[in-house]
């Protein structure tokens, strides 16, 4: 078969791969800091819609996208600052509400957002190679934020806050950085989406996307950035792997994967890879030494631990 033909036949999956990698990392970056938030999906929608709206108003789409992403960063920062006292499930629920409220807004803002039909005919402003470049840059940034002293500080912030404080780490600032980054990455993913598919509907930045993102992160292995990337790629290609009659049930399949991973391979594909690696070396994977890879704790336990945190930070028992 001709390469060009293969490329065109899989174009949607190729574009999805880049979008999902960025989306997956936007989930990873907050969860890794011990922040249970889905606000990134809200920013995905905000950035997608505002780019589409500005483009309709004859703002050059690339400029529109840039403005949207910068705005996501600013709003994300303020948002993060105002919810910094909320913890665990409470923050999770609050950010889900944020996502759902935005969806209602998109549906009911008349011609501005195109109602339930959404907005169509956005010009494509990011060619496939640009998507790739963006995904790589985002990957490198996250990699840099996962190694050495910064990586260690995020691990400590997530896994034991009082320990982190006892060695002088500014945990609240770490969380705020993570929240802001996640907002920006969510925005970038939304912009990539609206350029690739040239449209956006109120349904896309919703609960399904939250499930999808969580599946990516859990599938790949929640505690490492490599895992998040692998998860994003796998989920992007899943529809191609699913044979004919299964295809309409993709959401169901995602759910089953999520459940199966949590039960059978709680540390995801990255966890399996690390186990194999460790068996060969009898040493921890090098990433564990610099602050990334998971070990004893399962991501399921991590998520559960996040969810069980008290609603508001309080003096804790030592």
């Amino acid at each position: 078969m001709n390469i060009n033909h293969l490329y065109l036949a899989n174009l949607v999956s190729i574009e999805n791969t880049m979008i999902y990698v960025v989306l997956s990392l936007s989930f990873f970056v907050v969860l890794r800091a011990g922040v249970f938030s889905f606000a990134n999906v809200g920013f995905y929608g905000l950035a997608g819609y505002s780019t589409a709206i500005m483009a309709k108003d004859h703002v050059p789409p690339l400029l529109a996208a840039l403005i949207a992403v910068v705005a996501c960063g600013i709003i994300g920062f303020i948002f993060g600052l105002s919810v910094r006292k909320l913890r665990g499930t409470y923050l999770g629920l609050f950010t889900i509400a944020f996502v759902l409220v935005l969806q209602v807004l998109y549906r009911n803002a008349g011609t501005i957002t195109g109602g339930s039909l959404g907005l169509f005919g956005v010009p494509q402003f990011l060619p496939v190679w640009a998507l790739l470049v963006i995904a790589i840059i985002v990957g490198v940034v996250i990699w840099r934020l996962s190694r050495g002293s910064i990586g260690r500080s995020f691990e400590a912030t997530r896994l034991n806050e009082s320990l982190a404080q006892s060695v002088g780490i500014e945990v609240a600032r770490r969380r705020l950085v993570a929240f802001t980054m996640s907002s920006v990455l969510g925005g970038i993913a939304g912009v990539m989406y609206v350029s690739s598919f040239r449209s956006i509907t109120p349904d896309s930045p919703g609960f399904n996307l939250i499930t999808l993102g969580l599946t990516m992160v859990v599938l790949g292995g929640m505690a490492s950035w490599q895992g998040a990337i692998v998860g994003g790629i796998l989920i992007a290609w899943l529809p191609n792997i699913l044979i004919g009659p299964l295809q309409p049930y993709q959401i169901l399949v995602n759910g089953l994967i999520l459940a199966a991973m949590v039960v059978f391979a709680p540390r995801g594909v990255a966890g399996i890879a690390e186990r194999v690696y460790r068996r060969y070396r009898r040493k921890p994977a090098p990433i564990a030494a610099t602050g990334g890879a998971p070990a004893g704790d399962s991501p399921a336990a991590d998520v559960a631990a996040l969810a069980e945190q008290p609603a508001v930070q309080s003096g804790e028992k030592l």
């Binding site: 002293s149 780490i169 030494a289």
Partner: protein
């Protein structure tokens, strides 16, 4: 001698429970202050209050000339107050060495997130410094053979040693040790005592909480006894252990538990 730490009328109340109830302590520079007391007498809560991890109901805290009553725990930690915890707290996903590096990180790199990106110029030399600090702490607690292991693979006693090494890597001028020898073998216990003794000779001020009264009397310059949130007596260890109130605080508990 001058006071390194002085706390005044510190109270920590949880609803009706007065975990710590009006404790005043002054810790002189360079001494080991031993703190004992029955279970639930408020020793750990007091260490929590001193390290600012536990919110205090009332009182004043001062360290090295700073009134830090309203500081965050991370700020007072960077000012030179290091600690370990009664229940070992290590990052399970990091190796022993990385856990210990954590102690040196903020002191060497600061708290920012952007400067470490300047890899060759800014990060590398500092990273080497962190390596040296970590290696020194590792050597001091004889953890060389565990460097690349994960905490879950270690015995409880070894985990405790890792925690002490991490606290030392913060280069504290005051070190709080909450039952550092709990769950250790006699041999490990002796080696920790030796570490504490050596640190004292090097001039490190320490507050040592333990149930092992013999160990405390052997190590501490000053000894305090807590009971039901109060500091009931303070003085030279050999005087304190002979005190009537101390005897009854311990014996009283035991009799109550027996009946």
């Amino acid at each position: 001698m001058s006071a390194l730490l002085s706390i005044k009328d510190v109270a920590v109340h949880y609803g009706g429970v007065k975990a710590v109830d009006g404790v005043t302590i002054t810790v002189e520079q360079g001494i080991v202050y031993g703190l004992v007391g029955p279970n639930g007498s408020g020793k750990s809560t007091l260490l929590g209050a001193i390290s600012r991890l536990t919110r205090i109901t009332s009182g004043e805290l001062s360290f090295d000339g700073h009134d830090y009553t309203h500081w965050t725990p991370q700020r007072i930690a960077r000012q030179g107050l290091g600690r370990t915890f009664q229940t070992v707290r290590l990052v399970p996903t990091l190796t022993v060495e990385a856990n210990i590096r954590l102690g040196a990180d903020t002191r060497v790199f600061g708290t920012g997130i952007f400067k470490p990106w300047l890899r060759p110029l800014w990060y590398r030399p500092r990273d080497k410094e962190v390596t040296d600090i970590a290696r020194e702490a590792i050597a001091r607690l004889e953890l060389e053979s565990f460097r690349d292991r994960l905490p879950d693979e270690l015995s409880y006693g070894t985990q405790r040693r890792v925690e002490i090494a991490r606290a030392l890597a913060t280069n504290p001028s005051l070190l709080l040790l909450d039952e550092p020898t709990a769950g250790m073998t006699d041999e490990e216990r002796d080696s920790i005592s030796e570490v504490i003794r050596r640190l004292r000779r090097e001039g490190l001020t320490q507050i040592l909480v333990d149930h092992d009264v013999d160990m405390i009397t052997g190590l501490a310059d000053t000894m305090g006894v807590m009971d039901q949130g109060h500091l009931i007596i303070e003085g030279l260890p050999r005087d304190v252990v002979r005190d009537q109130a101390v005897q009854s605080a311990y014996l009283g508990r035991r009799q109550r538990a027996d009946s």
